[in-house]
């Protein structure tokens, strides 16, 4: 019924005819989507109710979910993930907007130069960049210790990644440099799309720079901001390669995230059911976060 309402103005026969051709066009994408996204998703949900290991497959109801919240390592991983998201997402968004608005008015050649620079970590490849960062943080041969020692700010080498208090912040710094490239490029493009006549009109009416920004530019780059917020949130929640390469979740689980812990339980301890249950929880958290951001950005626009 809903369908007929939406297609009002069209007779039903063309809709029916279009349905056949439309599904033929959709077929290739649907095969991949259903086969390699929907089927595993359903399997993930289904097996999360089982004690599922290499040898075992018994129904335990919500057992995995109950165990999860009693598991101190999971709670710690959840807390670390929260720290990463709460610090990295606003920092990446605000900072990329600042950098974009600084480099946007520059000469085109200079603008391209900075855009390339900030995109470098994206194209160099996560693994390669992470290997260099790992060396920079190294306790004995690392660059940071060498520089700090030469400046005689420290007299004993710091074990950046081996210390519970510093390891997570080192990861945050690297996460920051690897995730800021795309937002900057997107923001520079979005600033270019702002209607210039509106900006000029506001300036003629005596608006200062700050007012022009908040009243004219900010609303028109809102869709980009929303996209960046959501993409950065999802990427931060899924932060895995960095952690696996740099610390393997240590020391004493101080850098373990939910994603890393899922990997650890499912692929190191072969507890698939438990890992999948954590995956379901992570998916729910991310969905809630995305919905919240949509809502907040939506009210901002209505203002």
């Amino acid at each position: 019924m809903a369908a007929r309402n939406r297609f009002s103005g069209m007779s039903r026969a063309p809709v029916r005819r279009e349905t056949v051709s439309a599904y033929l066009f959709l077929l290739p994408a649907l095969i991949f989507f259903v086969g390699f996204v929907i089927v595993p998703m359903v399997m993930c949900l289904f097996t999360s109710f089982f004690d599922y290991t290499m040898t075992d497959f018994t129904f335990v109801g919500f057992g995995n979910y109950v165990e999860m919240f009693k598991d101190p390592v999971f709670v710690k991983s959840l807390k670390n993930t929260a720290v990463l998201v709460v610090v990295a997402v606003p920092a990446v968004t605000a900072f990329s907007l600042w950098v974009a608005s600084v480099i946007y008015p520059m000469r085109p050649s200079l603008r391209s130069f900075f855009r390339c620079i900030f995109y470098l970590p994206v194209v160099t490849g996560t693994v390669a960049v992470t290997v260099v960062w790992k060396w920079m943080f190294n306790q004995y041969t690392g660059l940071f210790n060498h520089l700090l020692k030469s400046a005689s700010l420290i007299d004993k080498n710091i074990s950046w990644l081996g210390n519970e208090n510093t390891a997570l912040w080192c990861i945050l710094l690297i996460l920051f440099t690897t995730s800021i490239g795309q937002p900057i490029v997107l923001y520079v493009a979005a600033l270019g799309n702002v209607d210039n006549s509106l900006v000029e009109a506001a300036e003629v009416d005596g608006a200062n720079k700050l007012q022009t920004f908040w009243r004219i530019k900010w609303p028109s780059i809102m869709p980009t901001t929303l996209y960046i917020l959501i993409i950065t949130t999802i990427n931060t929640f899924q932060c895995f390669a960095l952690i696996q390469l740099l610390t393997s979740g240590g020391p004493n689980y101080s850098t373990s995230t939910v994603m890393y812990y899922i990997y650890y339980e499912a692929f190191k301890l072969y507890r698939y059911g438990y890992g999948n249950a954590m995956g379901v929880i992570l998916a729910i958290i991310i969905a809630l976060f995305s919905a919240l951001q949509f809502k907040l950005a939506g009210t901002g626009k209505a203002d």
Binding site: L30, M41, L120, P121, V129, V132, T141, K209, Q238, Y272
Partner: protein, 238 residues
């Protein structure tokens, strides 16, 4: 922050911004510089406590050693995975995205919301079941096990749908009146219009697939078929 204040403040703000940009430039380009110069140093220099800022005695030994291994084969695997994922994604996503934007058919709203919901979920979450599925399909440790899930990801469909909204409906009708079939309309009217979108999707898919370390780590075991990021790791002392 810097609007109706004196020009002196404005100047100091600009200097401040410039200094920050310089620091960031160093921070962002240093890893790449270090990878390139590091490739020309011998092992002792790289691991010494005192960093050598510029390779004083460059050597090509590392490259000689690299090409004694099947390095070209690894690189080829990476290229193969990324190009295959890119081509399949662009073809399937441009067809599906166009139809979702411009056709009215039963199940359209449901399908679109399903795609968007799936996109919001972390794709690593489904990796365990995906591994089982690939084992079931006899594709474990096969390059296709890395290509197929990348193509299934609905982001491309979503992106092309957004681009296809701009196609003028009159042009599609004109093509139909001129006697073009559905497929002909797609190739000669739709594709030229959404070309920038497909280009962006191609670049995006290539980079994602090239860097998808997690997927490669889990799906591929044997060194013979490993792509380059994966092999890079095995050179890295843990």
């Amino acid at each position: 922050m810097h609007s109706n204040v004196g020009s002196k403040n404005k100047l100091s703000y600009r200097i401040f911004a410039f200094v920050i940009l310089i620091i960031l430039t160093v921070l962002f380009s240093f890893p790449l510089y270090w990878i390139i110069t590091g490739s020309l140093k011998d092992a002792a220099t790289i691991n010494s406590a005192k960093p050598e800022w510029f390779p004083t005695s460059p050597t090509l030994d590392n490259y000689v050693r690299l090409f004694k291994n099947p390095a070209l084969k690894w690189l080829f695997n990476s290229v193969l995975i990324s190009v295959a994922a890119m081509a399949l994604t662009c073809i399937s996503a441009s067809m599906a995205g166009y139809v979702l934007a411009k056709k009215r058919f039963y199940g359209r709203a449901f399908l679109f919301s399903l795609l968007v919901c799936a996109m919001a979920l972390p794709k690593q979450v489904i990796l365990t079941p995906l591994l089982k599925e690939m084992a079931f399909l006899n594709l474990h440790d096969n390059l296709w096990a890395v290509i197929l899930p990348t193509v299934g990801w609905p982001f491309g469909v979503f992106l092309i749908k957004q681009f296809s909204e701009t196609i003028p409906t009159e042009m599609l009708e004109a093509a139909r009146i001129d006697g073009a079939g559905e497929f002909r309309t797609f190739t000669s009217v739709v594709l030229p219009i959404i070309k920038p979108g497909v280009g962006a999707l191609a670049i995006f898919t290539f980079i994602t697939s090239w860097n998808d370390y997690f997927l490669q780590l889990i799906m591929l075991n044997s060194k013979a078929i490993s792509p380059s990021p994966w092999v890079l790791l095995s050179c890295n002392p843990r």
